[in-house]
Amino acid sequence: MSLWEYANPKKFLATSERVLPAFWALSGLCLVVGLVWGFFFTPDDFRQGSTVKIIYLHVPSALMAINAWLMMLVASLIWLVRRHHVSALAARAAAPVGVAMTLIALVTGAIWGQPMWGTWWAWDPRLTSFLILFLFYLGYIALWAAIDNPDTAADLTSVLCLVGSVFALLSRYAVNFWNQGLHQGASLSLDKEKNVADVFYQPLLVCIAGFVLLFVALVLYRTGTEIRARRMRALIARERAGAA
């Protein structure tokens, strides 16, 4: 039993269909519990008032926006090295989800920033690097959409993902150099004594778990759709060939 067995589309579909309902249910549960807990059963912050509660959407979506790109990077590498089609399709399936997460993070950040910083947008390093990440996602998706041959498209987008990762990282540090930040430091980290206060911390963890599960469920589901779409195209092509 190895992970590579799931490179077989049939096996992948069968297993993902079995686990998908569990993922949907668990992510739904986590999101409902986390958001209700966060929105209604935590105190208002003494300086920020109730706007602090946007953290339950903002932090998890920002986290997943970056992790989605990382997942695409790993999937692209697997495609380039081992040529498993499921891997390339998973990378393709993850990209629009990553865009959505990036957008959620940007929009919730703007809604929070308006009352707190007095502005919807500032050219702060973190905000700017997220905007650049958004552009990278757009370019990646556009390249997938532009090429007809699926293997060529998978190859080119994989290389773009690798090169883009390097440049996205470079931009992240370049914008640090370019402008001073308005954004606070990391809300969560594993090696820090003190994170956000406990009352906010626990529901936030539940929300993050919900977002992670939701992402996994969406990617599995969309990968399944991509596999089926490709099968359909193959069937249609075969029928046309038979008719002619």
């Binding site: 090169v163 883009g164 370049a174």
Partner: protein, 218 residues
């Protein structure tokens, strides 16, 4: 390699090669800026380094779709791919030819256009230095973008969408060097970063460009 470089240069310089178009575009962008923001010399001199960098970047970007497309159409790219010269070498030479025909004229023209934008006197040296260090990176990154989109019918707009985010670090450090230089501040740190980006891009990106070109020629 030298023969290929000379061939590319000759093709660019002779009629229909589009040499000088980038330069003319750079000129026209710079001339348009005072029309759009107003002719106050204080404002112009403060934005001059950024405008010159942005103009140079756009001029580079516009010339990219001709970089490989012509050779792709007439099939000479297939011949080059089967030649003994490795494809990595071919794309490096192509990038070099692009830099000589587009980047270098921009570097030389920048001080002249700086006069139009009322660039402060100490800024002239720095705009030339920053563009001289930065435009090679623009050419090499652009070659990668051109190699990605070479097989597409209408790759032009997609090419911009792909290449622009990759240009961000170069633009940030390049414009920072020019800006600090123009204000008389210390510009060494961003200059070293800019040189590092250029050196890294020149060393590594030809491999990526050759890889995607092989996929496209398959």
């Amino acid at each position: 390699m030298i023969a290929l470089l000379l061939r590319d240069l000759r093709l660019a310089l002779r009629a229909g090669g589009g040499f000088g178009l980038g330069l003319a575009f750079f000129l026209i962008v710079t001339v348009m800026v005072p029309f759009s923001v107003g002719p106050q010399s204080a404002l112009l001199s403060s934005i001059a380094p950024g405008v010159l960098w942005l103009g140079a970047l756009l001029a580079c970007l516009l010339s990219l779709d001709r970089l490989l497309a012509l050779d792709w159409e007439d099939g000479s790219l297939d011949l080059l791919a089967t030649a003994p010269l490795p494809l990595e070498g071919v794309v490096s030479v192509k990038a070099l030819a692009h830099w000589i025909t587009t980047g270098l004229p921009l570097v030389l023209a920048a001080p002249v256009l700086g006069v139009l934008l009322n660039l402060p006197a100490q800024g002239f040296l720095w705009i030339v230095v920053s563009l001289a260090l930065g435009t090679p990176a623009l050419s090499v990154i652009g070659t990668f973008g051109a190699a990605l989109t070479v097989g597409l019918k209408r790759g032009g707009l997609l090419l911009s969408l792909l290449v622009m985010p990759l240009y961000v670090p170069t633009l940030i450090f390049g414009a920072e060097v020019a800006r600090r230089g123009a204000q008389g501040m210390d510009a060494i740190t961003p200059m070293l970063m800019l040189a590092g980006i250029s050196a890294g891009a020149i060393a590594l990106l030809p491999f990526a460009s050759a890889a995607v070109l092989r996929v496209n020629l398959r």
